[in-house]
Structure formats: C-alpha cells, structure tokens
Amino acid sequence: MSFIIDRRLNGKNKSAVNRQRFLHRYRGHIKKAVTDAVNRRSITDLEHGEKINIPAKDINEPIFQQGKGGRREIVNPGNKEFQQGDRIRRPQGGGGGGSGDGQASNSGEGDDEFSFSITKDEFLEFMFDGLELPNLERKMFKDMESAKLVRAGIIKDGTPAKINIVRSMKNAHGRRRAMTGKSRRRLRELEALLLEEQTKDELLRNPLRIQELELEIAQLKQKIDRVPFLDTYDLRYNHFRLEPQPSNQAVMFCLMDVSGSMTQAHKDMAKRFFILLYLFLERNYQRIEVVFIRHHTSAKEVDEEEFFYSRETGGTIVSSALKLTQEVISKRFPLNEWNIYVAQASDGDNWDDDSTNCSKLLMNELIPMVQYFAYVEITPHAHQALWEEYVGVRQRYPDRFAMEQIVSEADIYPVFRELFKRKES
C-alpha cells in the first residue's frame, strides 16, 4: 500500500537554522575572508556574495580513525597488467587506493579546504557587522516623521474604488434573507396547500381555491423579487488611515578635493570609501540620495561620473565645498525629513587662511544640521593646517564629527570600521 504526498509546498528552508549555526560558529573565519574580499575587490563589485574558504582542519569533526602506517590489504577493481607477486612502487602521495568502503570524503572537493558561498546580504552583514549609524536614534524620536497609509478596518462610507466586495455581498445576502423570510415561509405553506389541493380526487377538487392560491403565490413571488439584490446600506469600504512613520530617508554628501595634488589613486581610494558608506547607509534606509560636490578653489555639484573621473588643476579652498553643502541642504533637504550624512575626502591641502574658515563654518553652521560628518585624509605625509583645525571641531562635537587618515588602500576598510564603530553608550 502506498501513499503519495505532495510536499513541495512545505518550507524549503529546513536547513536554514543549521546553516546559521554554522555561519555563527565560523564567523571569525568568515569575517576575515570578507575583510580580505573588501580590500581585494574592484570598486564597483562590492555588492556580491562571496566564496569563503575555511581550512579543513579548523572545521574537522574529529573521530577515532586509523592513521597511516601499518599493514593493509586493499582490494581494487580493474586489474590490467598485474600478476600475483608483482611488486610496484608506492604511488606518491601516500596510502595507495581508497579504503574501499565506497565513502568519498564528503566535503566534495580537495581535502584541504572547505568552501561554500555566502549571499550578498550575508556578505554585507559581515562587512558591516558591529557598525552603527551614529546619532540615528535621537533623530528617530524627535522629528523624523512622515506619514504612511495603513489599513484601519471597514467603514460604511467611502469611494467606490475602495469597496470591499466580500463584506458588501455578505451584508446584502443577510439583508435579503431577513427581509424575505416571512414571505418565503408563507410561500412554502401556500405551495404545500396548492399541491395538496391539486392531488385531491377530481371530484373533491376546488378550482376556485386553486386559483386563489396561485394568485397569492404569484404575488408573493413578486414581492420577494422586489427586494433589491444590493442596496446602498449593504456597501462596505476598506478604510485607510494616515499613520506617522519615522522617516526612512537619508542624504549622503560626498565631498572631494579635485585639485592638482589629488591623483587618480587618491580618488580611487576616496571612491572606495564613499561606496562603503553608501552600501552601509543603504542597509539602514529605504531611500538614499547622494549629492556629489567637488571642489578646488570653488565648489560645484556634479554627477557621479564627473565627480570621480574629471581632473582639475589649481589650488584648494575647502570652505567653498562646505558652503555649497550648507546651501544645498537648506534648499533641498529640510532637516525634519532627512537624515544627513557628510563624508569628506581630501589630501589635506588647503589655502592657508581658509582652514580657520572651515572650522568656523563646521562648528557654527554645518555640524548642528547633520547626523554625522566623517573626514578622511588621504595622505602619507604629515598633517597640515586643515587637520589641525578639524581636531578642534572633533573636540567640540565628539559624537558627530570623526576624522581618520588613510595611507594605502588597505586602510580604507579598517578606517571605515573605526569611523562607524558601535559606541558603548
């Protein structure tokens, strides 16, 4: 006897828990692989899953087993040339033949490494593990509000577009039953009487009585038919209500120095940093806008292509970019709707007396407006006036302003982690 059962609709992720347990157990290995991958990958291709290799010895589940050595007799199939008593050289790489029990190594490939893939989401999860967006909470409670339509039950009035058909028809049906109940009962009685009358013996039958009954039946049927199939007070409408929602949008300003001293290598590093920030924000917000502002002696809002690849020459006035940022914010991004993040990359060069302007502008205008301002200085050299000024800003706004130095590509990810490290509160 057999039963055939269709199980295809059952959940397919029975192993999800076990998989998570595995990832959790080896998170150290995976994190390291992710860090390597972030540094190795090209700029545009951070958003993929990753193949992770873990040395087999770390993942091994030891059991009592026989090791190499001793004497063993192995039966193999497919003899071609051997005769009894032949002596052959021991093949390189040990043992000679499998143990013959037909069990392959179940890791499926080379014995030295266990490899598997993690998804894009898991990759990013590990990449941004332990990081947080600074100052997000405070904003959420105060003024990050917008509204969203949510379902709020069923009501009697509304627009035709929102009719709830099932509920309306149910009401109509109930009303019809109620309104015709008496008539239908009477109808059944009359029909029974009529039948009784009609089946009587021809002599006893009363034609008048039959006529009477038939007339009343016809009238009742009409009456029942007159009850409307659907009436206005049957109608029900879905109700939606506006509910205030914490704002889910952020704007990210990328500020970069494009003066002659910034080489393409500098810009690549800056771009990597910006991309990390973008991916990170993307995980925290539904909607993200990016504003690119580049500057030499004057600042300009540009598109992405121009931002990263066009080259300018000449001197540097950093405050021009900060001013423009402030203007853009006040023009386009009302503070009660947007979370604002600013990332600035530069090689530290600035027109001598401009640096004090910068710090003033930051402290008095810009920092109070934004969630977080991160400054990275891409230079192997000693710091200049701008850095010194910014140190002052950091002292005054330690939780809103952060700065780090990047010397080589390998620093980008660690610096990023440093800037967004989860802070103990």
Partner: protein
C-alpha cells in the same frame, strides 16, 4: 543450505506473468509525470514486487523540490533532526557541490521507518520516478523489513516519533541552558558516535512516548546511581588489593563508550546524560546501515533492474522509457577501474548488483566452476536463495559467502598489500584460481566495521583515586591512530570531567600513550 526457512514466495505469479504474451498498452508515453501516473506506476511496480515475494512496509512517497532534497540530504537521512552546526556544514557542501554542477543530487533518499518514507524530486522524468519507486519503495523497503540486522537493531515504527522527541528535548535544553552549551555537548557526543553502539546486545526498542514518560524518573534515578558510585570516600586498600588484585571499575572492558559515559561520568547533569543517550540511540539506529551498504544498495539495484525489465516485458512501458532507464542504470552500476581519475573506491551499487545477479545465474545456469564453489545453491530456486541471502547476512559475511569467481573476474579484482615496513607494494592476489579465496577474504574484511574502525574500549575508571579514565586501543595490523586522536580525547575529557588516557597496544606489545590534558614527560614516567 537445506535448512532454509524462507518466506513463502509467490514464485508462480512471476512465471505466469512472463508467459503472458498478450502485450498491454503502455501506462504512459510522455516523460512528464503526474500524480495519477505515479499511482498507476506504483500499483504495477507493487504488483510485480509482490509477485517476487518482496515484503515491504507501507510506502509514504513524498514529492519534493530540489531545495527540499538538499535539506533532506544534509540531515543525514533523518526526516527531522535536531539543530546542530554540523548539519549546516553538510548542507553548505551539498549546496556548493550542486550549484557548481559537480554533483547531481542522488535521486533517491529513503528512510528506514514504518511507513517507509521515500522522496521523489519533482524535476525527475516519469522514468526516473518509476525507477526510484522500484529502487527505494520496494527494494530498500523490503531490505529494511527483511534483513536480520535491521530486524534486530532498529525499530522502524518508532523512529520518527523518537526523532521528534529528540528534537523537542534538545530544543528545550537549548532554551534552558543556552545554545552554546548544548552545541559543545553535541560536538563531544558526535565525536564518539561510532562508539555509542551495542554490537552484541540487542537494545531495547525505542519508543518516544515511553522515553518521555520515563525520562523524568530516569533523570533522578541515574543521578542517584552515579552519586553512589562516586560517593565512596577513598578507603584504605582492601585485602584483595593488598593481595595484588586491584579493585577495577568497570569489571570488564566496555566498548560502548557513550553508554559508559552516560551511566558513569561523575559530573554530567541529568539533561546532559539524556542528550548523550539521544546521540547514542540515533547512532544505534544507523548502525545496521553502515554494515549493509553493499547488500542494501545491491538488493535495491537488482530489484529496480528486474522490475523495470518486467514492466517492459509486459508491454507496460515504451522503448524510450526502457532506454532512458538503462542509461541511468548503467551509470549507477558503473565501476571505474583503480587507475581512473573517477575512481573512488569500490562502488557498492556495482558490487552488490553484480553479486545478486550472479547468485541468480548460479541458481539458474550453474557452470562446473559454480558447482564446485557453491554446491549448496547451484541449481536451486533463485528467488529463495536470493531472499535467504538478503535476510541473513551483512556486507562482510555476504561477500565471504557469495562473491563468486565470475564476479571477481568481471570486476578484475586484485589485492595489494601496503606494508610500511616494505619499500614497495605487493600484488597479493589477482582474479585467478590461486587468488579467488584470498581476494574474497580480504574484500570481506574490508567491509568489517571491526577492521575499519579502531578497536577502543574503556578499561578503567579510577573511582577510588584521581577519577581518571583509561581507554585501550588494540591495534589491528599495526595501524596507529590518526592525528585527530588528541582532539577526540579532549571531547571525552569534556564529558568525563577528569583526565583521560588512551593506550595504543600494538600486536607485538609495544605501547603508545595519549592523554588529555597532555601529561608532562615526568608524569608519564
């Protein structure tokens, strides 16, 4: 072989089916399957299987998707398993292999339970579904029900309930004691899984209900017993000990290490003992499967082959169907030779199929050689003999009994001696008159779990002294333990709670010691 008390076999039925010349119309002509067709095929396959005397549990055939197959695969054949990272590891490697196309998913997975659960993948063609039904639902199923090892050691009706109980219990423990704690305990138990089986004593059948009911009592009782054993304050030496007879606990060596730990480990909490027990019970359930790979796969393969051909002979399937089947069957029983890049040991499907097929040949058309080698079965009723073989053997004894010279010639088996004292390998025997016996012996020995797994036993728990545990490893053919041994000892130490020593004793009496925590040279001396 006169004393065969074989089952009643409706042999005549198959004869009459064979002579039935009237060809019927095929059940289906397309390669698409439907649920109605599955039922039709199952009915016909079931009819043919019964006509060959295959006695089975009822079948529960479940149609699943590829992803579900990967899930089923990585829980090592348990229809519901407790959670553990090692199953996640298994899943990841299955998934990786499948994604890269290195590995097709095995198209069959069958669980030794009553009713017998078998999985069909939705991607398969009608032919493959029919093949799996014949292979798993009638081949493996009848093996589970008939083979003596399964009859003695497993309880098909109770396993699913027991697994459910185990899963719930372990989940509860995770809630109460933390995932990490439970996980590390399971790690330790898994390392000793192969040493958690009773090899000679039939275990009490498992029943989930009873387990649950008794579990509370057992927890209390067990702890009491353990306390008794360990409560002895070290006494002065008794007279016996003075006379040279040491007090020994256990009085005899114990091969079931997990059982010994469950009952005697001084520091385990009751819930930890229960988990040790669960791992042990599940290991016991899988023990027969590890001992009957060749027989079981060979049996299922032999029957899918026979049943499919019968379907074709009766005109129930088309030429296309049987060709697709044959192609698949051929790759299942393909045995690459030892020097092929695809060689991965002896294919149990190929070996088992070859032996069963040859038993049938020996019964039906014995040669002079067969009469010499198999006087008991040559010329007898093949179906009876085949059933006898399936019922009463395990891989080792099955090969020893039934591997015929013809199969050895066909597979071109040869035996190599690899001795680390010699600089070269020696060909001990090949498939010729002087070699058959040796090859047969050695191949059988290869399937003896006792040779494959190191023989390790608990010899002493020092209940009156430092509470250390001593294990002996009796080496076979001078084979030492591998490099993972100290890690396993660490796990035993974790369970036992006091120092653990392991002595490897070679055949010539030399010894090698392992210990955890590692002992200093001074302490050893």
């Amino acid at each position: 072989m006169n004393d065969i008390t074989s089952n009643v076999i409706a042999h005549q039925a198959s004869e009459s089916a064979n002579t039935d010349t009237e060809k019927r119309t095929p059940i289906s002509t397309s390669s698409e399957w439907t649920f109605e067709l599955l039922e039709d095929y199952d009915r016909e396959i079931g009819r043919i299987a019964r006509s060959f005397g295959l006695d089975t549990y009822p079948n529960q055939i479940e149609v699943i998707t590829t992803e579900q197959m990967m899930d089923a695969y990585s829980s090592v054949g348990m229809p519901l398993g407790y959670h553990h990272w090692s199953f996640g590891k298994q899943f990841l490697s299955v998934e990786q292999g499948y994604k890269r196309g290195q590995m097709g998913l095995a198209y069959e997975l069958v669980i030794n339970s009553d009713p017998c659960i078998a999985y069909l993948m939705e991607e398969n063609t009608m032919t493959m579904q029919a093949l799996v039904i014949a292979h798993a639902c009638y081949g493996h199923n009848s093996f589970f029900k008939g083979n003596y090892l399964f009859k003695t050691w497993t309880d098909a009706a109770a396993i699913v309930d027991y697994l459910l109980f185990a899963k719930k219990y372990i989940a509860q423990c995770e809630e109460r004691h933390g995932i990490e704690e439970v996980e590390s305990l399971l790690d330790a138990c898994h390392a000793l899984q192969n040493y958690g089986v009773d090899r000679y004593k039939r275990p009490a059948p498992i029943s989930a209900e009873e387990e649950q009911k008794r579990q509370q009592e057992r927890e209390e009782y067990l702890q009491q017993q353990v306390n008794q054993l360990w409560s002895t304050i070290p006494l002065k030496r008794t007279d016996d000990e003075v006379a040279g007879k040491r007090f020994r606990y256990p009085s005899e060596p114990q091969e079931n290490i997990l059982y010994f730990i469950e009952k005697n480990a001084p520091l385990l909490e009751p819930w930890q003992r229960e988990i040790v027990r669960i791992v042990r019970k599940i290991a016991q359930y899988f023990y027969p499967q590890r001992q009957t790979q060749v027989m079981n796969e060979g049996w299922a393969t032999f029957w899918h082959y026979t049943i499919m051909n019968q379907l074709y002979d009766e005109g129930l399937v088309t030429e296309g169907f049987i060709l697709e089947f044959l192609q698949s069957h051929t790759s299942v029983v393909y045995q690459p030779s030892y020097d092929s890049p695809y060689y991965n040991g002896i294919n149990p499907y190929a070996l088992g199929f070859a032996i069963y097929t040859d038993i049938k040949r020996i019964c039906e058309e014995p040669t002079e050689e067969d009469r010499q080698w198999f006087p008991d079965i040559a010329g007898t009723d093949w179906l009876k003999t085949l059933h006898f073989a399936m019922h009463n053997f395990k891989d080792e004894s099955f090969i020893l009994q039934f591997l015929s010279p013809k199969v050895m010639r066909d597979l071109k088996l040869f035996s190599i001696v690899d001795d680390d004292k010699e600089s070269e390998l020696e060909i001990a025997a090949i498939h010729d008159d002087s070699g058959y016996k040796l090859i047969r012996q050695q191949l059988a020995a290869q399937y003896n779990l006792g040779n494959r797994e190191p023989n390790i036993q608990v010899v002493e728990a020092d209940v009156r002294g430092d509470r250390s545990l001593t294990l002996n490893h009796y080496a076979h053919n001078r084979r030492p333990l591998d490099a993972g041994t100290p890690s396993v000892l660490r796990y035993i130490y974790q369970l036992w709670g006091f120092p653990v020593r392991l002595k490897t004793i070679m055949e010539d009496g030399t010894k090698q010691c392992y210990a955890w925590p590692p002992e200093t040279e001074a302490a050893k001396a």
